[in-house]
């Protein structure tokens, strides 16, 4: 009697979970997405529309391109450049929410320069910028960096195939040579930081610091002035040396930790051996 009551009770209790689809679905729904992920990820109507079937084909690639970009990796989303409200479908493209849409070609430098302020100034001071201002044509941000699929700035952007479209590659090549060592150092230090992260070291602060130095360095060569780059390379070298020293000293600290705990390990090993011998020594 008692047992059947328990069984009946258990069956009653399990009814709600039996009634709604297979358990695997329920598990995925109830555990994997909803209650597990805490606050839901923000909805983004820009991405939603630009991935839907209703979108014109030429606008369909934008979302995918952005997802692969350096901007996406650094949480720079559509509205950060284009304005609008990504959380509200009806207002997503409203000028009242700051939507500016696609910039005209002549507006591109100012569009990007909202955030890349230092670079904008250097660019306008350069021959590239002067030409662009005078004629409304000429190389601007998207010529070298692309628009949505913006990749991490890299010395390889300075290439014959790009620069020789408008002029001879000679001057650009000299610029690339002047940048080479400093850029290589940036790569090296980033590699070092990645390695430290693998060792369980928190590196975000150093990474930010390195990022800032790099950003400052990048403003420099948008002036397309080889002499300026050469003059200031030493300044950046000394800044990078500080980061490098910190990375090296962290590696040194990790080595010290290993040695220190190995030393304690040896002490315990010796204690264990002595005690083992004592216990094995015959006594009355």
């Amino acid at each position: 009697m008692g047992r059947s009551v328990i069984v009946l009770f258990a069956m009653l209790l399990s009814l709600p979970s039996l009634s709604s689809g297979s358990y695997q679905d329920e598990f995925a729904k109830g555990f994997l997405t909803k209650t597990w992920s805490g606050e839901q990820p923000e909805e983004n109507f820009c991405i939603e529309c630009h991935s839907s079937d209703k979108m014109k084909p030429e606008f369909l690639t934008i979302a995918e391109e952005w997802k692969a970009s350096w901007h996406a990796q650094n949480n720079i989303a559509c509205h950060n450049c284009h304005g609008g409200d990504p959380k509200d479908a009806s207002m997503s493209m409203s000028p009242h929410r700051g939507f500016v849409g696609k910039p005209k070609p002549s507006e591109v430098p100012d569009f990007c320069g909202k955030c890349h302020i230092g670079i904008l100034k250097n660019y306008y001071d350069s021959d590239h910028g002067k030409e662009f201002r005078a004629s409304g044509k000429g190389p601007n941000c998207v010529t070298c960096h692309g628009s949505h699929n913006i990749q991490k700035a890299n010395i390889d952007i300075i290439s014959e195939h790009r620069c020789a479209k408008c002029h001879s590659y000679e001057r650009a090549k000299t610029m690339k040579q002047a940048l080479f060592l400093t850029e290589k150092k940036f790569d090296e230090l980033e590699g070092g930081l990645r390695k430290l992260r693998k060792e369980g070291v928190y590196i975000d602060d150093d990474q930010k610091n390195l990022f800032n130095i790099q950003a400052e360095f990048r403003t420099l060569f948008h002036s397309v002035d080889v002499n300026l780059v050469r003059d200031r390379t030493n300044e950046f070298s000394s800044k990078l040396a500080v980061v490098e020293n910190k990375i090296n000293s962290t590696f040194g600290e990790l080595r010290f930790r290993k040695n220190f705990s190995a030393f304690i390990l040896l002490i315990f090993a010796a204690m264990a051996t002595v005690l083992y011998l004592i216990t094995k020594t015959p006594r009355d």
Partner: protein
């Protein structure tokens, strides 16, 4: 000379000689005693190591969602030897759980949970559950991606229960999702709810062991305890060895081995318990690709995924836990030697193998 003076001073006040005699040399333990009998003291040492290293960590740790991650990083990088204490605490927690589990398993195999030691077993079982709760509550405190999401997984388990499941999860989390409130809750539980509970149970556990006396049947070598037990009789072992130095040395040796394992991990695999997600601060908006709980919750987690009904899955686990804790009352056979009980042995081996398989499976 000075030593004698202190000794004399203590002798007058606490009766030192008599105390040492009764507790160390006159306290006799069975002849057949082996290193497995020392596992309990390893678990005790493991707990003390956690308490001491935990106090050092608490001095620098800030239990607030905005500062917790940073404060742990400060412990790792700026506090002198902070890294060592954190490593000891983290590696120690995993080793302690291992020691407690091994202790329970060997006591089970030796049949030492049987009359008159049922209460000792139940106390130990509850202490094991508390040890897991220590692990669960401590895991969230560094406020990393790993700890945040592992806690999200574990605290979602009660939702499998209709009616009060959601309430239980909300109670644990202090809201709909793991947040700063959860962190404060878990911190309070970790440092001020669980320790006194554990200490009381530990006191009772040790008092019971001393009161009843150690069992003399390691792995069923003798069956002299088959005598009927109708009245309380302390098990003394007049023919056995003195506790000091005989068992004491074994215990110290095992504790040193515990330290050996701990420092081997810290030296040769310092990132063993610190995968990359453990150096990324918690982010409620970014779900990592592989969410899974700590290794000691992997088997129940996998079991829950496999059983085709949430409620039954969780109920089964709770029933298994109760069966485990109250096992001495369910196992009514007098035979203590598991080698003479093929059914029990079969069940035991089956459970062990399933545990390992489920844990391995749950890792993926």
């Amino acid at each position: 000379m000075a030593k004698n003076k202190i000794r004399d001073w203590l002798e007058v006040r606490i009766g030192l000689d008599e105390l040492l005699k009764s507790q160390l040399t006159e306290y006799r333990v069975p002849k057949q005693i082996n290193v497995f009998n020392a596992l309990g003291s390893v678990a005790l040492a493991g707990y003390l190591i956690q308490v001491i290293s935990g106090i050092f960590l608490m001095i620098y740790y800030i239990p607030h969602s905005e500062h917790a991650f940073r404060s742990v990083q400060e412990i790792m990088t700026r506090v002198p030897y902070g890294w060592l204490f954190r490593q000891i605490h983290v590696v120690g927690s995993n080793l302690m759980i291992t020691a407690v589990t091994l202790h329970m398993v060997t006591i089970f195999l030796m049949g030492n949970y049987k009359r008159p030691r049922e209460l000792t077993w139940i106390g130990g079982g509850i202490m094991m559950v508390i040890t897991f709760l220590f692990g669960l509550s401590g895991y969230l405190l560094p406020w990393t991606q790993l700890s945040y999401w592992a806690t999200t997984v574990v605290t979602s388990l009660p939702t499998a229960f209709p009616f009060f499941g959601d309430f239980a999860t909300r109670l644990l989390r202090g809201g709909d999702y793991v947040s700063g409130i959860t962190l404060t809750r878990f911190f309070a539980v970790h440092v001020s709810v669980l320790p006194p509970l554990f200490m009381i149970l530990m006191g009772v556990h040790i008092a019971l062991i001393r009161r009843i006396g150690l069992s003399s049947t390691p792995f069923g070598k003798t069956d002299e305890e088959k005598r009927p037990l109708t009245e309380f009789r302390k098990k003394t072992h007049p023919e056995g060895h003195a506790y000091y130095p005989y068992l004491f040395q074994k215990q110290v040796l095992m504790v040193i081995c515990y330290f050996l394992i701990m420092f081997s991990i810290i030296t040769f695999a310092p990132t063993f318990f610190f995968p990359e997600e453990a150096s990324v601060p918690a982010d409620a908006f970014k779900t990592p690709e592989n969410i899974r709980p700590e290794w000691y919750f992997l088997a129940p987690y996998q079991m829950l995924k496999l059983i085709p009904n949430k409620f039954l899955g969780i109920s089964l686990q709770i029933i298994l836990l109760f069966v485990f804790i109250f096992w001495p009352f369910l196992d009514v056979q007098k035979e203590k030697n598991i080698f003479k009980r093929p059914v029990l042995r079969g069940v035991f081996i089956f459970l062990m193998i399933s545990w390992v398989i489920l844990m391995w499976w749950g890792r993926r």
